[in-house]
Point group: C2
Chain length 178, copies 2
């Protein structure tokens, strides 16, 4: 394997600040055929994934950063609700969700920048409900990978709509195998 | 599984016409740390993937559509060169490749629209070097899924840069397992 990057706050922000525009470029105005269908069972549609990203902006990344950096002795994170979007997104268009996500992300990046996080801060810890002690560096790295994970998932959910239509090419398209 | 979409040219164009802006939103101006590293061995960096997409615009999708719809009796496709980008991209910046891809894609979509493709055209066939007979509908469906496949791959290549940095969260991030 090539040498992987070490965590870098500015380079992490390069990804985090781009995600709303990536999603808007990809999804604003496309037919709901692409965005309302899931991969079967309890899996998520594109619409559900955007609601999940919004819930993360509200309850996960910055609130957990605040817990880690606070003076309080209780460092336990509030468990994340993976199903909150089914209630929160109700009645909203995808376009409105995309704009809401963009607004929340911009505000969160501003808040993160205003903290002037140091190398020492990155080593501070909080208590994750399943993993126990985790560092701020791990939390912020996860925020970046979580964005990329869900952009890739959105691609996969949409690609699967044409799984039959590609015929024999399916064997060359890794996204249809996963 | 939910009912998948049937091929629809307009809905396919919704994806195809968005891809250049998706890639520009994601990649224009970010540090080369994210874009110059591959996943080891003969795998591709983000930079290599954009070169591959450019080569597809030049030699694959529209030229093969032309073969399928032509009056010629020889319907054999020219085999696609999966390594052409290593020569073609040499000396070009990623920003320049992104603009080149956008320009080529716009031209190809114009050409595709100008053909006024009918349902009968979609059933016409060409000869793929590995698969034999394939339809225009399969080729155009594959063009769409191929875009989504490589956007997802770009996300994965970048996410893998932080594979170690996320610590225990790796188990929740499907993109790091594939």
């Amino acid at each position: 394997m090539p040498v992987a990057m070490k965590f870098d706050l500015e380079k992490s922000l390069e990804i985090l600040e781009r995600t709303p525009d990536v999603l808007i470029s990809m999804l604003q105005g496309i037919s709901s055929d692409w965005t309302s269908v899931n991969e079967g069972g309890e899996s998520w549609s594109v619409y559900d994934i955007i609601g999940h990203l919004i819930h993360g902006e509200k309850t996960d990344w910055v609130p957990r950063t605040d817990i880690i950096l606070s003076e309080e002795t209780d460092k336990n994170f509030t468990p994340f609700d993976r199903f909150a979007q089914f209630e929160d997104s109700r009645g909203k268009t995808l376009g409105r969700l995309l704009q809401e996500f963009k607004m929340l992300r911009e505000r969160n990046i501003e808040q993160l920048r205003s903290k002037n996080i140091t190398g020492e801060d990155l080593a501070q810890t909080g208590i994750h409900p399943a993993f126990g002690e985790v560092t701020l560096k791990q939390l912020l790295s996860t925020w970046v990978v979580h964005d990329l994970n869900h952009i890739a998932q959105i691609c996969r959910v949409m690609a699967n709509q044409y799984k039959e239509e590609v015929g024999p090419w399916t064997v060359y398209l890794k996204i249809l195998q996963s």
